[in-house]
Symmetry: C2
């Protein structure tokens, strides 16, 4: 069990404090697991107060001893009842908050109202966007964790070659991926920030399943095996000569790796093979084009134009109602991190960003083909962190 290095925590807090000052905030309260882990190194049930100036205070409801072991923060205070939070802040000299931040994209309404009531003189600002933009740029420590995750992905996607066979169900393949992930140390959950978005370890989508649209903000959804989940693998059996799309995610020490490969028993029709090749060409193009400063909108346009030139625009990143308007996204403590590589994202690439780029094509009734790989933005260009060969995987 490795705690997050002290230096990491201190740098993150410092960068956040600069932003708090820029936005003229007295401080911010952090409660959500991913953010709490980012700024404190622990997810033990806590309220973290980060003042614009001075040391943060981690107020722990459960479990104090474990929070002390895990977190590099100096002030770790037990708080059996959250109604004591204002008093503790007072004791530390923060006795009149006037403008403070909350994670208003994820914090439940009742907790928001509790803050309103507990600090009646304070006005509240949403700091989610500040946090998400801070978290876009990864440290060497964070990149090292993501590399551990991509190593597990490679192991799983490689082992899968001896698992996939005619007649096996999508769910059985998914189960094997879950088993491998856990055996290799996947922490057991893939965090997603978006409201109501839920994630399993994998999407295993064969043939028409790959063309089934879902609520998920993804080019593919899958049938799942119940409307209660409505995504991912189902009881569908694998046949010859159909694309088997496998989207696989694992998280090591909090950090997500996210990869997609296309398998086939036998061979694919020429249009599907062509689309798969186009996915690979799009990745090559994006790697060539990417440099610090390029806008996410330009990168998205590059990919979309390439698909259009190939006559594949109707199938690019989904089909019909299922078409999504992005070609990739950041990964880190959550699988839906900034930046979003889309025409609508305000901003561009920076050194230290880690991106999952996922050019995919969805053909009605036929399924999904494509690739997803994880890349690090460096001053020498995009460096691939995922290890698996990019060809169509024939079994």
């Amino acid at each position: 069990m490795q705690p997050v290095p002290r230096q990491e925590i201190h740098q993150r807090i410092s960068r956040f404090q600069v932003q708090l000052a820029v936005h003229q905030l007295d401080g911010a309260f952090i409660l959500q697991n991913a953010d709490l882990f980012y700024f404190s190194g622990t997810i033990q049930s806590s309220v973290l107060f980060v003042p614009a100036h001075g040391d943060p205070i981690l107020m722990v409801q459960k479990n104090l001893k474990r929070a002390e072991l895990e977190s590099a923060l100096k002030n770790i205070i037990p708080v059996k009842n959250k109604n004591k939070v204002p008093q503790i802040l007072n004791d530390f000299g923060f006795n009149r908050l006037e403008r403070s931040g909350l994670e208003m994209d994820v914090l439940p309404a009742n907790l928001y109202l509790w803050f309103q009531q507990s600090f009646p003189q304070c006005s509240w600002r949403d700091v989610s966007n500040i946090i998400r933009r801070l978290r876009m740029v990864k440290s060497d420590y964070e990149i090292a964790q993501i590399k551990k995750a991509t190593a597990v992905l490679h192991k799983g996607l490689t082992e899968l070659k001896s698992v996939i066979r005619e007649g096996i169900t999508e769910l059985e393949i998914d189960g094997h991926l879950a088993m491998i992930a856990r055996r290799e140390g996947h922490m057991g959950t893939l965090r997603m920030r978006g409201w109501n978005q839920e994630m399993t370890y994998a999407h295993v989508l064969a043939g028409d399943s790959g063309a089934t649209v879902s609520l998920l903000n993804s080019p593919h959804g899958g049938t799942g095996n119940t409307p209660a989940m409505a995504q991912g693998a189902g009881f569908r059996k694998i046949s010859r000569n159909e694309p088997i799309g496998v989207d696989y995610g694992v998280a090591i020490n909090g950090y997500v790796g996210d990869q997609f490969r296309t398998y086939v028993i036998g061979t694919l029709s020429d249009p599907l093979k062509r689309a798969h090749a186009c996915s690979q060409e799009i990745l090559t193009l994006l790697v060539e084009k990417s440099r610090p400063g390029i806008s996410c909108a330009e990168l998205y346009a590059t990919a979309a134009q390439k698909a259009k030139r190939e006559g594949l625009e109707d199938f690019f990143m989904g089909h019909g109602e299922g078409q999504v308007k992005f070609i990739g996204h950041g990964i880190g403590l959550e699988i839906d991190e900034y930046p979003i590589i889309s025409g609508r994202f305000d901003g561009g690439l920076e050194n230290g960003m880690v991106l999952a780029l996922e050019p995919k094509f969805v053909f009605p009734q036929k399924g999904v083909v494509g690739l997803e790989d994880d890349y690090l933005m460096t001053s020498e260009g995009l460096k691939r962190l995922t290890l698996t060969d990019q060809s169509l995987i024939q079994i």
Copy 2:
């Protein structure tokens, strides 16, 4: 893929509408996946408005076609942008909401503020508690789904006997449980309502791992393999003569089954064997005592007193800071449903409730022993839905 029967949806809506009228509400907006599935039969990205009188309106952002296939509701309307919601309500004659309900325990603050802004004349009430109390009592359809989940649990816990061996890690055992769950149709996630509470398929906790406290509202936590998750299985290897606690959950068609068994390679010390026997005796006692109308507080006291009579009160439902003050909880679309079988829960048992009763004992350094089984409250008494023998499982 089985949709939720029309009759189910209509009964649930009717029961909710009675409560809305009792609480003098014009209606309520439902957005969270578990609640949305309960009242509409779909989790396709939607806003559901349930008026106190009249037909509900399901406004679907993504995916409309799938929502139409899955939901038995009459009014299913596409809404590309949620800013159109007030206009749609207006079109249906709900043009002046004055007092409406929201799921304020789970709805993010930003969405709450959006409702405030979009319906400026309306005041808002938290309807979470109403919904959670409605959902406590299960229909025959719901009970049938939970039985499917408990059948998978039995399969997994039985297969595990040939998986557990000296030197295997907790994570490998966990991975096998994940594989079995998915193979048999587990939908891929276990929903938990509590803020920041996260759930993997299983807790596999050997020896001292079983005595490691976590943030989780549970008698056992486990080390996990990273502070980023801080619960469940880790890389610890299984030895002879130590308790291996296995808490296993699967969800079929949305409905959770939740079971705990204690395994051992070899044998346990007498105090641990005695505590395991006491868990079984507590379950027998709770079954004898349970009848519609008995308070949850009385049931909890019965279990706690039995533990005390046996001199086991210091280890009952956790040890030290990790001790929790409940002996069971409802299960259904979420794993932390009402009722809570604790001294603090206001209410008692009713026919149709499904309870996970989990008498466990945690010994510092030594681990966790005990049982968890799922029961249905009927007019003839508690009926066990889980199928696995209650003895200590020796390998």
